[in-house]
């Protein structure tokens, strides 16, 4: 991560947004750093789009304020903010061609025709659309529209670009490609990007940091790895990837470890270095294990740290991976285990008795 990331570009301070009696944002606070690719991730209706529109200036906050580049934005309308938006529908003006669309904002700035033409050509080249300048909106494909919408925002040289679900209208293959392109473009030009998405995979792939939102609150703000490895609660854990939950009881706490009695897995010492010091460790009642942290051992004599017996209930074959549903001895609800289909490893049929291995450091603790 570049050191430019340390300077705050946007400071969101205690922002509350109410629509009538409905509260969409409950006092959101966050800092978004300069040059950062930042994502707002959450299910639909969680307030992520509302927060983006508050930053853009389309919705005045009911309480609290937003500062961009150190300047308080209260009372400053969308057309005077140093932000530009890529809309979910792309909002390509249908009566204008690609060049006129991209040059739309520059024309407002009273720039000369030659300057506009130069800037437009430059940015169209950047998004690989230089040969499409004379096309009209309805002659463009979804991916091309997305590029034009991005170019139209980029050409304004804003301090922040806001993207409202920009890839949701594209098919899977194109979406995967655009994710990579968008990410590398952002890296090369260094402008702060804020992306709104409901797709956790997209957020993980593209972002430097992600704010996970539920019901108008930020539940966790962290790096993709931090979110995946150390989710703060069960809700975040199950929204990002798959997580197996097992009930647990605290038996004792030392400086280095917490001793837990976990259903099916038995008594183990979980190292404390991954656990937030502020976390009330005595209240732990559940643990989580990711599917890839379990392993189906080839034979019972494997030297794995810990193991438990189980029976394969079901399996789903994905080509590169197989997901097994395994009932562990002493626990009724099956756990999900993922195995990479490497050379020489065959798919285990349902009904097979298996030995499952895991490690104590793969365990995440939760309280209710």
């Amino acid at each position: 991560m570049k050191d430019t990331h340390t300077k705050p570009m946007i400071v969101i301070d205690q922002v509350v947004k109410k629509f009538g009696s409905f509260t969409a944002l409950h006092g959101i606070s966050a800092e978004i750093r300069e040059g950062e690719f930042f994502s707002l991730l959450g299910p639909s209706g969680c307030g992520k789009t509302t927060l983006l529109r508050v930053i853009a200036g389309f919705e005045p906050p009911t309480k609290g304020k937003v500062a961009i580049g150190g300047k308080d934005m209260s009372g400053i309308p969308a057309n005077s903010r140093p932000t530009n938006m890529v809309f979910q529908s792309y909002a390509i003006f249908p009566h204008l061609n690609v060049e006129e669309n991209v040059g739309y904002g520059l024309k407002t700035r009273k720039m000369s025709k030659a300057d506009i033409a130069r800037d437009v050509a430059e940015v169209l080249k950047l998004v690989d659309m230089e040969s499409y300048g004379k096309r009209k909106a309805h002659e463009l494909s979804g991916g091309q529209r997305q590029r034009v919408a991005l170019a139209r925002a980029l050409v304004m040289r804003p301090e922040v670009i806001l993207l409202d679900e920009p890839l949701s209208a594209l098919d899977k293959k194109l979406r995967d490609q655009m994710q990579v392109e968008l990410r590398s473009l952002q890296r090369s030009i260094g402008i702060t990007f804020i992306l709104v998405t409901h797709d956790q995979e997209e957020a993980l792939i593209m972002s430097d940091r992600i704010a996970v939102m539920f019901d108008g609150r930020i539940e966790q703000l962290d790096t993709p790895e931090g979110l995946y490895r150390r989710p703060v609660n069960r809700r975040v854990a199950s929204f990002i990837g798959v997580m197996n939950f097992l009930p647990a009881k605290v038996l004792g706490v030392t400086d280095q470890h917490v001793k837990l009695d976990i259903a099916a897995l038995g008594q183990i010492d979980v190292p404390r270095h991954d656990i937030d010091p502020a976390f009330d460790i005595e209240a732990v009642d559940t643990i989580g294990v990711r599917p890839e942290m379990f392993t189906l051992l080839a034979d019972a004599d494997d030297t794995a740290q810990m193991k438990v017996q189980g029976e394969v209930v079901d399996s789903e074959y994905y080509g590169d991976m197989t997901y097994y549903s395994v009932r562990l001895a002493g626990h009724d609800t099956p756990v999900t285990i993922s195995m990479r289909n490497t050379a020489g490893r065959s798919v285990v049929p349902p009904g097979s008795q298996v030995t499952v291995g895991w490690g104590a450091d793969s365990i995440v603790v939760f309280k209710e």
Partner: protein, 288 residues
């Protein structure tokens, strides 16, 4: 995001307020005034504003008005049924069998509607008259020996003329309803063993019902208010209640009685419309 309600509501209401104000002043207020008027009395040149039901007693009790009211309803209903029945196959043909140039067909159907209404009615008189186009053609072709007399200056002429005048208003709603039918529903019905005829009655017709009801109401209601067609092609047997309303407001100079006749006919037609709407809703199932 459907939740930006308060600000939206304010903006929406502000935008529509001018149009709403116009309709309140120019439509709602006059309609209320007509209702009030119908309880007053014409006293030669002045109006007696004592509230009375005399106009309604006269409107409902006098044989001539009773006859006109019944006849108006009868003619309007016949016209409506004929117009909708004639329009349905056209709408069906356009929706299911015309694949290219649908818009051109729709345009051609609406063109005659834009000829002066007066002239269209008058030209039907020319077509249906004793020495008219139809009679001369039939005589010339030797189909008949003497001109037909039952087609002008009676109810038939009124029905034909009005069925012509309201054709596009009947075709368009039915066409729209038919267009909205998901074609895979018809395939599903066939797949489940329906013959084309059964499929038509079990799927197409119920789903087209909203359009049929709309067409029925759009034709029925204004037809009751027409006084040109009966006057020009209806003869004495074809006169309707609207002619009497027009006479009361004009030559007879009895506006309160005219108002009572107008209100009465609107109430009757309103009740019939509600009835048709409810029956249509029931026949169409839970379709919107």
């Amino acid at each position: 995001m459907a939740l930006r309600f308060d600000r939206e509501a304010g903006q929406g209401l502000r935008l529509i307020s001018l149009t709403l104000a116009y309709v309140l002043v120019m439509l709602a207020a006059p309609l209320l005034m007509v209702i009030t008027f119908s309880f007053w009395t014409q006293d030669y040149l002045t109006i007696d504003t004592t509230l009375t039901l005399n106009n309604y007693r006269e409107a409902w009790g006098t044989p001539i008005y009773q006859v006109l009211m019944w006849r108006s309803l009868k003619i309007s209903l016949i016209v409506t049924v004929v117009t909708v029945l004639l329009a349905f196959p056209i709408a069906y043909y356009l929706s299911f069998h015309v694949t290219r140039r649908k818009a051109l067909w729709l345009f051609l159907i609406t063109v005659p509607f834009w000829t002066s209404y007066l002239l269209r009615v008058f030209l039907w008189k020319v077509i249906l008259g004793y020495n008219g186009v139809l009679n001369s053609a039939l005589l010339g072709l030797g189909f008949i020996d003497a001109p037909l007399t039952f087609i002008l200056y009676n109810l038939n002429a009124v029905v034909i003329t009005l069925a012509h005048a309201w054709a596009p208003f009947a075709i368009l709603p039915i066409f729209v309803a038919l267009e909205k039918i998901d074609r895979s529903l018809l395939e599903a019905a066939t797949d489940l063993g329906d013959s084309p005829l059964r499929r038509f009655f079990r799927i197409t017709l119920p789903l087209a019902m909203p359009g049929i009801v709309a067409a029925t109401l759009i034709v029925l209601i204004p037809t009751v208010g027409d006084f040109i067609t009966p006057r020009l092609v209806g003869g004495t047997d074809g006169l309707m209640i609207s002619n009497m309303i027009q006479i009361q407001f004009g030559k007879a100079n009895n506006a309160p009685l005219g108002a009572a006749l107008a209100v009465s006919s609107m109430v009757v037609i309103g009740l019939i419309s509600v009835g048709i709407f409810l029956v249509g809703k029931k026949l169409g199932g839970r379709v919107r």
